[in-house]
């Protein structure tokens, strides 16, 4: 664990790097982002952000549109490899391994990290069953029994099983928007990740579907490290243990959710959570 504790000077540079500065030594961090900067064609979208994510906790990232939350989230999975002009510097450690080190093939680490996107994006030509198993089948898992088990398990975790259990061969895009999003969560869970990244997973959904997804998140917390980007501050309060507030690419404040919302240390945070701007 000692390798993961940041040295005092960098702690000073990032006063909110860890949500609980007092107990850095004995807390286990699943994922650590160190001095992450992302720039698109020379313009910094995320500026030198350092954050630590505790194992089996939910961390919410909030902030006004364009503050870099999604950009930062995508760094944690090396999704920017697909974007032209995007340049990422800094380190992202998962279980002590730097995701951005040259020797690492990101494919192996992406399997540790599941991702759910803002808009539901089930594979249009596949059935529900095939969508859930896509990550496994296309990675070479053929055993029908294992696949069946994982489908049931993942769909149950995503609270979708009861609605589709008799219809697994149905095309995925015949589902409603909320069901599609839960299918995408099941698909992400099927590869048995340890970290789950969610980019505004409920922004396109109605309140009932949102509630179901929030229940899923709370349930999943027992086994996963979850990082969720959200525009909805109430949602952050409901589901998260820790909350980071970002503004114009900077991480302004990162603390326990309850403290951040009731007793914000930073003036900007206070204004934002009280709804003065956003």
């Amino acid at each position: 664990m000692t390798a993961l504790t940041t040295n005092p000077t960098s702690m000073e540079a990032h006063p909110f790097a860890s949500p609980e500065p007092s107990s850095t030594i004995d807390t286990k961090y699943k994922m650590i982002a160190e001095n992450v900067t992302v720039s698109y064609g020379g313009i910094d979208a995320v500026k030198n952000v350092t954050m630590k994510f505790k194992e089996k906790s939910v961390t919410a990232l909030i902030g006004p549109s364009g503050c870099g939350k999604t950009t930062f989230l995508r760094c944690l999975n090396r999704m920017h490899d697909m974007t032209k002009n995007a340049k990422v510097t800094g380190k992202v450690l998962i279980d002590n391994t730097d995701l951005y080190s040259k020797e690492i093939d990101p494919i192996y680490h992406r399997r540790k990290v599941g991702m759910v996107f803002q808009k539901p994006n089930p594979f249009p030509t596949m059935s529900i069953y095939d969508n859930v198993t896509a990550g496994l089948r296309l990675n070479g898992v053929r055993d029908k029994k294992i696949l069946d088990e994982i489908v049931e398990d993942s769909l149950k975790m995503a609270y979708l099983w009861d609605e589709v259990k008799n219809d697994l061969k149905k095309s995925a895009i015949e589902l409603s928007g909320g069901q599609q999003q839960r299918l995408c969560i099941a698909r992400a869970l099927a590869i048995q990740p340890e970290v789950l990244l969610m980019d505004e997973p409920a922004s396109a959904l109605d309140p009932i579907a949102t509630q179901k997804i929030e229940e899923t998140i709370t349930e999943l917390k027992n086994d996963y490290t979850i990082i969720i980007v959200t525009h909805n501050m109430q949602q952050a309060i409901r589901v998260s243990d820790y909350t980071g507030f970002m503004y114009l690419g900077d991480l302004i404040e990162f603390r326990e959710t309850k403290k951040l919302f009731t007793d914000p240390k930073n003036e900007l945070t206070a204004k934002y959570v009280q709804g003065h701007f956003g």
């Binding site: 999704m79 697909m82 494919i107 992406r110 996107f117 994006n121 896509a134 296309l138 895009i173």
Partner: protein, 308 residues
């Protein structure tokens, strides 16, 4: 404050004033568009009617299966030509489609570099090349080198026509697949080629098939490159190393003859060629649409569900 409200009232009245004029323009555009379609369809339709009217009288079982009789006798058929057309379409597709599809995948999925821009530019130029030049090219590098006309040379020339079309349409249909599916695949830890072949292509399948069909129709009717390569023959296919007949060649030969019976046979051959190309198109389209797993098939289905 008051003046803003007055201005708004003015804007509203402006909107009301020209309603009649706008409705008129709307009607005029509709009429112009409709007329243009009619003007475009009339020659196409009359060609079809003419070919059908003249060709149908020539068609019989023996016309479709026998070798040509002596010139001007009006006997015999176009059997070798039908067989040859099917062979040359099949062989050219075997060469042209895989190369075209792979180039299209390269341009769409790996095409963010100077090499791809270069390839794309030449592909576009190539697509507009007069086909006779490709025929002469095949003549120079295959027929002259081997010393005789051959099916190979013809298939080579036609596949040169085919692959830029296939490459371009493949690229376009792959690019239409939303980026989010590729992102979802990446986030599942899939390798790029798996994403491309198992997810992106299956979503783009019907567009790609349309492109391939377009190229098949195009080469099915090509005459000039075949004159330079497979030459024509009055015998059934014997080997890939010898000359062979094909429908466009047969139509061309028959139509130049000064006998009414030969020209009638030419019309018959033209009708057969049109039917073959129509048949291939409809057959494959029906097959892919009916599978209902093409991206657009799904999209149509989804739309229908929504409107229900």
């Amino acid at each position: 404050m008051n003046s803003i409200q007055q201005r708004r009232q003015e804007y509203r009245s402006l909107f009301k004033q020209n309603v009649a004029k706008r409705l008129l323009v709307d009607k005029a555009v509709k009429i112009i568009v409709f007329t243009c379609v009619i003007v475009a369809i009339i020659p196409l339709g009359s060609i079809l009617v003419e070919v059908f009217k003249n060709g149908i009288t020539a068609i019989s079982i023996e016309f479709l299966t026998e070798t040509p009789g002596s010139i001007g006798s009006g006997e015999g058929g176009i059997g070798p030509a039908i067989q040859g057309t099917l062979i040359i379409i099949g062989l050219s597709s075997l060469i042209g489609v895989p190369i075209g599809v792979m180039s299209g995948i390269f341009l769409s999925e790996y095409g963010d570099n100077t090499l791809a821009r270069f390839v794309r530019f030449f592909n576009d130029v190539f697509m507009e090349f007069p086909s006779i030049i490709l025929g002469i090219f095949a003549f120079l590098i295959i027929v002259l080198v081997l010393g005789h006309f051959s099916v190979w040379a013809g298939a080579f020339a036609l596949s040169l026509i085919m692959f830029p079309i296939v490459a371009r349409t493949t690229e376009e249909s792959l690019k239409m697949v939303p980026m989010t599916y590729r992102e979802a695949g990446t986030a599942l830890g899939l390798k790029k080629w798996v994403i491309t072949f198992r997810i992106v292509i299956s979503a783009a399948k019907s567009g790609m098939v349309t492109g391939i069909m377009l190229s098949v129709s195009r080469i099915g009717g090509e005459t000039a490159p075949l004159i330079m390569t497979i030459l024509g023959s009055s015998q059934f296919f014997s080997s890939l190393d010898t000359p062979m007949d094909a429908l466009p060649l047969r139509i061309w030969r028959l139509s130049l003859l000064p006998y009414d019976s030969a020209q009638l046979q030419g019309w018959g051959a033209a009708l057969v060629l049109i039917m073959i190309i129509l048949g291939i198109n409809l057959g494959i389209k029906y097959y892919f649409m009916n599978k209902k797993n093409g991206f657009f098939g799904q999209l149509i289905k989804q739309r229908r569900n929504v409107t229900k």
